[in-house]
Symmetry: C2
Subunit: 471 residues, 2 copies
């Protein structure tokens, strides 16, 4: 393929305005032409896929973990090596939760010596048990309402929230919201009725036995009780055992604990705009992950797509009209501290964020962009669909963006990339979320889609209702 690369470079060199170190006012070729080049280069070069491999090889990146620091240093060095105009780390204090070595759940059947091990994963933020572990019987309920009607029985027991994620909905995220309540609020509701621990059924659409973690909340006024997710098959097993042996006891041992907050960083890199450098377009993902698997889809891939979307301008030697700023937010999973720190700084410096795009729904084939913006602006952006369709984007619709960019103040256009969702909850927050679960073309199409949207945002004017330029 070398001869093709050579031709591509030649074409770029001959036809397109060269990006030089000094700012020029030269406009780019038509978005149609640049979009075609961006898409082709992303799909053919597969650079983002190679970077994803480098990043995933370092392991998962839970906030404050040793791997997270190695990855942050890698990201800073990568942005510098790629030729970003400015690269910096923004300091952020992050929570530091560690899973520890012991994570064991065993069912003991009454009147027998039979012990049935279950596959569990402590929920993120869970307190541990004592070193010897804890043993109690189990109350199975399928909802908070059912827990309330059985509140007397919960005292001194584990509560098992046996609520299966609804796999009958076509967009898988539609089933996530109602299921995730038990993960997030289960420990609070169970502590209210005197339970000693919480088990949830993993939130997934894959019926294997790999448990899926994720953040939980505690209330300061209530006892903090240990909480774990059961693998889908382990949850089936426990439900079946409870039917036959309601008096069974579960023994749980967890060594998870929360250490003092620690210093970490958002990683930020900028390509300075040639005409409106004070108008910032953020392209982003979150850099932290859970501590199992590689955190490949969630959200190494989103960061890589953001990075590559910006880098495609450099690769094609094109300087954007507005400033493109890549942000890898830290601590999305268990604190949102990176997003908060970024938003605070933006407010303090009175920065004008023209737009922000986040990728945090897995690196599957892109389908559309969800956008938090004025309806008039969304209507205007429909004119871009024929160009976005080149990268497989069928629609721009009103909706949420991403957890991190949603907090940026003074930003009239906040986008979330919406990919196909069928496989996302197979891997989400689990040991299944590894590099090998990411498909190179699907990843690269996402990079290209974000690059094309960034191009349109950078090179055209939407006549925003209240442009607040502060420089």
């Amino acid at each position: 393929m070398r001869y093709r690369d050579a031709i591509a470079v030649l074409l770029v060199a001959l036809c397109l305005p060269i990006r030089t170190s000094s700012v020029t006012a030269q406009s780019l070729p038509s978005p149609e032409v640049v979009a075609d080049q961006m898409i082709r280069r992303a799909l053919m070069d597969r650079k983002g896929y190679a970077w994803l491999k480098e990043l995933c090889d370092m392991g998962p990146r839970l906030s404050g973990s040793p791997q997270s620091y190695r990855a942050i240093e890698w990201a800073r060095a990568k942005m510098k090596a790629l030729g970003f105009d400015r690269v910096w780390l923004q300091p952020v204090m992050v929570p530091r939760w560690v899973r520890g070595e012991v994570e064991e759940a065993i069912v003991h059947l009454p009147g027998t010596s039979r012990a049935v091990p279950l596959r569990v994963l402590a929920l993120g933020g869970s307190v541990g048990t004592s070193t010897e572990g804890m043993q109690a019987s189990v109350l199975r309920v399928s909802s908070f309402a059912e827990l309330k009607t059985h509140r007397e029985e919960a005292q001194g027991k584990f509560v098992f929230f046996d609520f299966p994620m609804d796999a009958g909905k076509v967009p898988t995220f539609a089933g996530y919201g109602e299921a995730v309540r038990y993960r997030v609020y289960g420990a609070i509701e169970a502590a209210k009725v005197g339970a000693v621990g919480v088990l949830i059924r993993s939130i997934t659409t894959r019926y294997d036995d790999v448990p899926h973690t994720g953040v939980l909340f505690y209330a300061d006024t209530l006892k903090k009780i240990p909480a774990v997710a059961l693998g889908w098959q382990s949850a089936d097993r426990l439900a079946e055992l409870l039917r036959r042996h309601p008096q069974l006891e579960l023994r749980l041992q967890l060594s998870s604990r929360t250490l003092p907050d620690t210093l970490s960083y958002n990683v930020i890199g900028e390509i300075r705009g040639r005409e409106k450098p004070e108008e910032i377009i953020v392209v982003a993902g979150h850099f932290d992950s859970w501590d199992v698997g590689d955190g490949a889809h969630d959200d190494a891939a989103g960061c890589i797509q953001a990075l590559e979307a910006a880098e495609l301008f450099l690769r094609l030697q094109l300087q954007p009209r507005r400033t493109i700023r890549v942000v890898f937010f830290i601590n999305e999973e268990n604190g949102m501290r990176g997003a908060r720190a970024y938003a605070r700084r933006a407010a303090q410096k009175e920065e004008y964020h023209y737009a922000a795009i986040e990728s945090d729904r897995g690196a599957f084939t892109p389908r559309g962009f969800s956008v938090t913006a004025d309806s008039v602006l969304i209507a205007r952006m429909q004119a871009w669909i024929p160009i976005l369709k080149k990268a497989g984007i069928d629609w721009i619709r009103k909706g949420g963006s991403g957890a991190d960019v949603s907090r940026i103040p003074n930003c009239p256009l906040k986008f979330g990339l919406v990919p196909d969702s069928q496989r996302y909850f197979d891997v989400h927050h689990s040991a299944n979320d590894v590099f090998e679960a990411v498909h190179p073309r699907e990843l690269e199409l996402g990079s290209a889609a974000i690059a094309v949207l960034t191009l349109l945002l950078s090179e055209t004017d939407l006549h925003l209702p209240n442009p607040v330029s502060t420089h």
Copy 2:
């Protein structure tokens, strides 16, 4: 999930017209209601996925192979067990090609004893070599045009068509057409200039070393020369070796051969229409596959989706207004004999095919339906999009249907299911095409999409321009 199933069955029992063995004129609930049920049941029950496993466990199904007969018997028994009104086998004489045991390509470097093995797969229909194999030098060209300019050099050599499938296009099929010419016509063009054999670069977007086969053509007036596909990495290796050692020789040994035609079958099952039984809606896939991998995506999955689309009516105890006929065509890959026999029979019996739908592009997330039909009808069907969107279908567009149903005479509406294409050429015609490469939700969404389209075709009237009812 048992309680949910029970509720679903109860709801169906209470609310919907029950399908009885006698034909009734009772119409179904609104398509919106039935569509929701079909989609939910497909995604929750995953029956098609379980059938796919049974089918793939029998191995690949090349026309005339022992596995193909086992699979045909399985399919007939399955349709009967599921309660189809009529199930039959349509006899078809099919070609019988066998790969044989020996398939070996080794590069010998001039002046050394070094031998470099390459991964190859005989193209479907290729003649073998003599038992001792054949050895010759290699002429590498990147196109038929280049072969013509070097025609003098080709005499007595292997021709290596080093044409990489273009991975820079977003719909992967867009790169297939120009690459597949070398597989289909390479042996003819090479024989014209006196070459002794043909090597092609596998047609794939995955850069591993698993070779991809597929049919080739010979001309009766030219010598039939052996032809193989090289794994992508083996093709790279050969290209590099040829740069350094233009005089290298390749030794090829193939035991592939063509046996006499043999009797096989299309498998056909029908659910009789309650009002217009003489108007047939075909839902189809092709049942044969290549002889490597499981032929899971190509096209076991398409057959399973067709089967499940029809079976969803039975599962919901709904009798369609028109007759739904499931057809598993034999011999799509290397002869199209099943499709021809079916078309002949349809013409002889003057059957009226109201519509036909084929799934033969892999069981990935469905995106749309491509349809061969009058533009006026296509415009009318746009009104169905809101219902089809429930199953993830975004569009109906004019275009090709499927190789098999395209031949059905007197059929005004011929559809092809168009799924996401990013991963298709990873597996197409190769050992990568196994059951594990099919995702349950993606498969089931395709079943649901076909079921919903079949429902709309069955229960509504499009006022076709020339309905020719012959019964």
